[in-house]
Subunit: 233 residues, 2 copies
């Protein structure tokens, strides 16, 4: 019975990882569609969002069944309730990717406003945080989760900086307003994707250490000491 | 044992209702702070957000304990996992209220841009949806949950209309850009609060009818027939 249950949990983790990689892929594609002015790729992102919606529903069902049939306790129970939150966060990452793709379609119809260097940088930070949070989950590595949370400040700072820059474009030339607003929405979406990664990492720290770090400032002090890295020997 | 458990579930519902009324109150206050240019009220909203954060943590703990100690099955199990989602949505409503309050502080330092008639209207729609979704939860009334979901389109439409209006202000007079951006953020926050209410209502339909309506278009057709209202006799 326990062995069977361990297999169920391993399946659950695999499905979560597949969903996460799908979500990450959607973000990459959406930013690619913007960067390379590729409408076909943007439309792909929009069409594939239903796959993530479906994964959320199926994974929820899987979790509820595990809770109902196995009545797990302690850490297994926390793992399953946490899995339900992770799927919710991943589904929302997919929603943000769709939002980016739609704005990319709008932007691709107009003259480019400026080199988009900040947005691909933010995207790669945000998807990196997402990947790290899922790796942390699978390996039970809370140091990795903490490191991911600390990078959130960088994404926030890039978003603020880009926002200020876009406001000055708008003031100087009102013809750029619509494009600037679209770019602001994309920047905000990327910032939100980093927030979802942060949510996941916070849950992981709680799962493995029982330490509640939600709603604390995202500094090393309030997150607590980072445990020493695991030795490879 | 079952009687004790029923008491636990009743407590859980009471705590959820208290948290919901707190969240609704925060939104009302934030919009009041904007409408009446009342900085003190805005600061109150920002300070009180930690109460909602704390409620989320405590209610989660309560749910996990119920799952661990009582190993509930079927509808009780769904009710508890749903309660965990409701708290998450309510905590985010609190975050949006805080965002509105912060923007109100910015806006209160400048000349008013225009009568704010649309924003109070959106706020009252969104908090009405939130209240309806929680009433639907407590009474097991899925007709009420459906009616609440259908009002989401109205909030979306108001948000779009206000957005367009604000863009034309910005184009006509770049001096209004910062104020317009702040008003756009507030409008978007209200739209998001309506989305959280919709999430809750969707969970309720699933809980009581086993019907999955997440990710479907928000029309009467796709939500399925509204059950006949309960007779009062």
């Amino acid at each position: 019975m326990q062995r069977h249950f361990d297999q169920d949990l391993a399946n659950l983790k695999d499905r979560l990882l597949a969903m996460a990689s799908h979500a990450e892929n959607a973000v990459d594609k959406a930013i690619g569609a913007l960067n390379e002015r590729d409408d076909a790729r943007a439309r792909q992102v929009i069409e594939l969002d239903s796959t993530l919606d479906q994964s959320e529903i199926e994974l929820d069902e899987m979790c509820i069944n595990l809770l109902a049939l196995k009545a797990p306790i302690a850490s297994d129970l926390r793992l399953i309730t946490m899995a339900m939150r992770i799927t919710q966060n991943l589904e929302r990452v997919g929603d943000e990717a769709t939002k980016i793709a739609k704005r990319a379609l709008d932007l691709n119809r107009e003259e480019p406003l400026k080199p988009l260097v900040d947005l691909p940088r933010m995207a790669s930070l945000a998807t990196g945080m997402l990947r790290a949070s899922l790796d942390a989950f699978v390996r039970g590595d809370t140091a990795l989760a903490r490191a991911s949370i600390l990078r959130d400040a960088e994404v926030d700072a890039l978003n603020k900086q880009l926002h200020r820059e876009l406001v000055s474009y708008m003031v100087e030339d009102p013809k750029t307003i619509t494009r600037c607003l679209n770019l602001m929405v994309i920047s905000k979406s990327l910032e939100r994707i980093a927030d979802h990664a942060t949510n996941i990492s916070e849950e992981i720290i709680y799962l493995y250490e029982g330490r509640e770090v939600r709603h604390l400032p995202k500094t090393q002090d309030s997150l607590g000491a980072i445990p020493a890295p695991k030795s490879n020997s």
